[in-house]
């Protein structure tokens, strides 16, 4: 989890949206840069719910822009990377890649098989224990049976092993390089012995470094960007806030563990404030124990270049009853 991905991290630009597909990049950006994005994909292990979602991570244009400005990331034209990359793929690459997957798939298969074996043994053991306990109970009705370990325990542990196999997709592959020669067979024949795998990224298939021709310029951002950047620089974690009736939610720490403090709305420096909007916002915020925050950048400061983050002013509004 503490892996440092190679910088700059490529952000995939597809059909107007910004995505990150590498788990290492996702955790790294969250940990080091307070960029959380929005997980928008289905979690394959529990696909029938919307509470916990998985890769890809969709970034707001503001987040992408901020990361590029910081030099942490670059924007990549993903459609062309994929099509060009595949076109450039030669037969030898294909064979090599398929063999890697093959090896991984076989390994997972073995792990799962051994896990099943283990589970069966544990189940047997539990039955024995129960019998023993019941016997003991009959003898003298006192000590309760030892606390049963939840059945999920062993599975989670094994899941972690499986996860470990995929977590750092780069390194994994390097480690595996040497010992996979043993399983070198024509790919079609052994399909039934290996798990099929849908990788999250195309890293091991396509060149890691995006070529210059696939890099895109700075993302276009809405007029609220200065406020976004300002709050971010103050240490807030920001996420899209529409559902809560604002533009951003500002969290004092990682949203995984903290409630948000502010409902944020950006206004233009010279924009006339609608008092009714202020009332509604203040009321909404106070109703959920958050502050309603409005702010914006002083656009009077001549040109874009000289503008500093300090030009942003923010105001917190609280509904105080009548």
């Amino acid at each position: 989890m503490n892996a440092e991905p190679n910088l700059p991290i490529p952000i995939s630009y597809t059909a107007g949206s910004y995505f990150i597909f590498s788990i290492d990049a996702v955790t790294y950006l969250r940990r080091e840069h307070h960029i959380c994005g929005v997980l928008s994909g289905t979690l394959p292990q529990i696909p029938q719910q919307n509470v916990f979602l998985g890769l890809p991570l969709e970034l707001m244009a503001e987040e992408a822009r901020l990361l590029v400005e910081k030099g942490v990331a670059c924007i990549v034209d993903e459609v062309n990377v994929q099509t060009d990359g595949m076109k450039a793929l030669m037969e030898a690459d294909r064979q090599r890649y398929l063999q890697e997957l093959q090896a991984q798939g076989t390994q997972v298969m073995q792990m799962q098989a051994s896990r099943k074996e283990q589970q069966r043994e544990e189940a047997l053991k539990k039955i024995e224990e129960k019998k023993a306990a019941q016997a003991a109970k009959k003898k003298a009705s006192q000590p309760p049976p030892p606390p049963e370990t939840p059945a999920t325990d062993s599975t989670t542990k094994d899941d972690e092993a499986v996860v470990g196999l995929f977590a750092g997709d780069r390194k994994q592959q390097q480690q595996q390089g040497p010992d996979q020669s043993s399983s070198r067979r024509p790919s079609t024949a052994i399909a039934s012995h290996a798990m099929g795998i849908t990788p999250a990224t195309s890293h091991s298939l396509l060149p890691l470094e995006p070529s210059a021709q696939h890099k895109l310029p700075l993302p276009a951002v809405p007029s609220s960007y200065p406020l976004f950047a300002h709050l971010h620089s103050e240490g807030y974690f920001l996420s899209p806030g529409l559902r809560f009736g604002c533009q951003y939610l500002a969290y004092p720490g990682d949203p995984l563990r903290f409630h948000s403090h502010f409902l944020v709305v950006s206004t233009g420096w010279h924009e006339e404030l609608d008092l009714m909007e202020i009332i509604a916002g203040g009321r909404l915020g106070t109703g959920v124990k958050k502050g309603f925050l409005i702010g914006g950048a002083d656009e009077t400061t001549s040109d874009l270049e000289s503008r500093e983050a300090d030009d942003v002013r923010t105001f917190s509004i609280e509904w105080a009853g009548m």
Binding site: L242, Q247, E277
Partner: protein
């Protein structure tokens, strides 16, 4: 008022508000018996400040009934019943209409819930409150209830802030101690959560800090109110939370809290003194200082629609007819008020908003300002004393007529006027959800300027003008797919 029923539960209600997560689980508490309340059905039996005189029923096969009908006609002809017309004056400083006549104030409030008391939140109740404050009456006005509720809630918040700080400090101390101690392992188990350890996550120590402090705070308040200071120690000893190693059970809190910590609450704190009346002085004989303040829409409806209100100018000399009220109100729908020489446009805010007001009034709704909820109007069935407003209305003009898209400038102006951002809509919708109201978006189709307008605009047929607007309501609510699956 209906508030009476809530008054008894308010202290605990305040508690549940301050704790998001807890209030959700709390079971409905038994209500204290209601205080007897006035007979609303009797007091507010008339929906509008106009008297009606129903005819006796006409039964065709009963000649007597015909006679009685004729008789009633005759009576009305000879001595027509008197319809009250109430005086009011337009106050340019507040851009609103004021009623000072006591009888008129009661009548307009009781028959249709028009206006609000200038010194009250809604019903003019200042005199009663003031009498009570001076110890002349025994009852409690709703404003006082609210004030008390708020101060209790504020105290609670301070208490909780204190508790949280103490818990963090204790934790830090414990961690420091654990670091210093040679065998870290002993304490470490209780301090560090496991990766998937929900055992620690839910009923472990961490979330407890929150619950614990809240419970403590609540309890402390309870105890204090009972003035059981002496038994303080023992009672708290029984608290299950007292088992925590921090030893919170003996902590006494200083009444002084660092300003920084109560910062989130300070706004409430600072604002409150404004509400306090000056201290009791030797009373001059008590006079009702309160006016009934009518919004311009209400005043126009009473004057133009019903004809039961005479609006005078600020000097209370000249009677303003509806034909001059309309341009006046249009001027005052802008800030600062528009110059009288400027003709009101068809999308003047007053015209648009009046069309909506009139529409809902004409259907029988009691329409009142929704400013407290960030909306234009609230719609009450029968009136605010009977039930909450179930609908909250926001007005959005619409410019569908080709006239409005004829020129580029006009199009841009219309776009500005009718465009609303999504975050605003969600914000307003959430506020209504908090108070269990449904949001109604009321679109008003704005007509093009009339053919005869020009300078004559003010004198042309008002009814004709209004009937060129048209209205369409849409009820908006959040759709939660999780709840509609079957």
């Amino acid at each position: 008022m209906a508030n009476d029923s809530t008054s008894t539960t308010s202290p605990s209600a305040a508690v549940s508000v301050s704790s998001q997560s807890e209030s959700k689980q709390s079971a409905p508490r038994p209500r204290a018996p209601r205080a007897p309340r006035p007979n609303f059905k009797q007091i507010y039996r008339f929906p509008l400040p106009i008297n009606v005189h129903p005819l006796p029923p006409l039964i065709p096969h009963n000649p007597l009934s015909i006679v009685s009908v004729l008789l009633s006609y005759l009576t009305y002809f000879i001595a027509p019943p008197h319809q009250e017309v109430y005086p009011a004056y337009f106050d340019a400083d507040t851009s609103s209409v004021h009623v000072t006549d006591k009888k008129a104030i009661r009548a307009l409030w009781e028959m249709g819930f028009f206006g609000k008391g200038t010194l009250s939140r809604s019903e003019p109740s200042w005199l009663g409150r003031e009498k009570k404050r001076r110890g002349l009456l025994g009852t409690v006005a709703s404003e006082d209830m609210t004030r008390q509720r708020r101060s209790e809630r504020r105290e609670l918040k301070l208490e909780r802030a204190r508790m949280e700080r103490v818990a963090v400090e204790e934790r830090l101390k414990a961690e420091a101690a654990a670091r210093d101690a040679a065998d870290v392992s002993v304490d470490h188990n209780t301090l560090s959560p496991s990766a998937d350890g929900l055992t620690n996550g839910t009923d472990g120590t961490a979330p407890n800090t929150e619950k614990f402090s809240l419970r403590k705070a609540r309890e402390a308040r309870y105890l204090e109110s009972r003035r059981l200071a002496a038994q303080d120690g023992e009672e708290r000893g029984a608290d299950p939370a007292g088992k925590r190693p921090v030893g919170g059970k003996t902590v006494r809190f200083s009444p002084v809290v660092q300003a920084k910590e109560i910062a989130p609450d300070s706004a409430v704190h600072l604002l409150d003194p404004i509400g306090d009346e000056p201290g009791p002085q030797e009373p001059p004989p008590l006079q009702d200082e309160e006016h009934l303040q009518l919004s311009n829409e209400e005043a126009f409806f009473l004057a133009y629609g019903l004809g039961t209100l005479d609006v005078y100018d600020g000097k209370r000399k000249t009677l303003l007819p509806a034909s001059s009220l309309l341009p006046l109100f249009c001027q005052h729908s802008h800030f600062p008020p528009q110059d009288p020489s400027v003709d009101p446009k068809p999308d003047d805010p007053f015209l648009v908003s009046y069309a909506v007001y009139h529409h809902f009034r004409s259907l029988g709704w009691v329409v009142r300002s929704g400013v407290k909820f960030g909306v234009d109007y609230l719609l009450y069935n029968r009136g605010p004393v009977f039930s909450h407003a179930e609908f909250a209305v926001v007005v959005i003009p619409s410019y569908d007529h080709p006239y409005w898209s004829e020129t580029e400038a006009r199009r841009a102006q219309c776009d500005r006027n009718q465009s609303r951002s999504w975050w605003w809509l969600h914000c307003v919708n959430r506020v209504q959800a908090q108070v269990k109201k449904s949001l109604v978006i009321c679109y008003v189709e704005v007509p093009p300027p009339g053919p005869c307008s020009a300078e004559e605009g003010s004198t042309s047929d008002i009814g004709d003008l209004l009937s060129r607007y048209s209205i369409r309501e849409m009820v908006m609510r959040r759709w939660v797919p999780n709840r509609t699956r079957d």
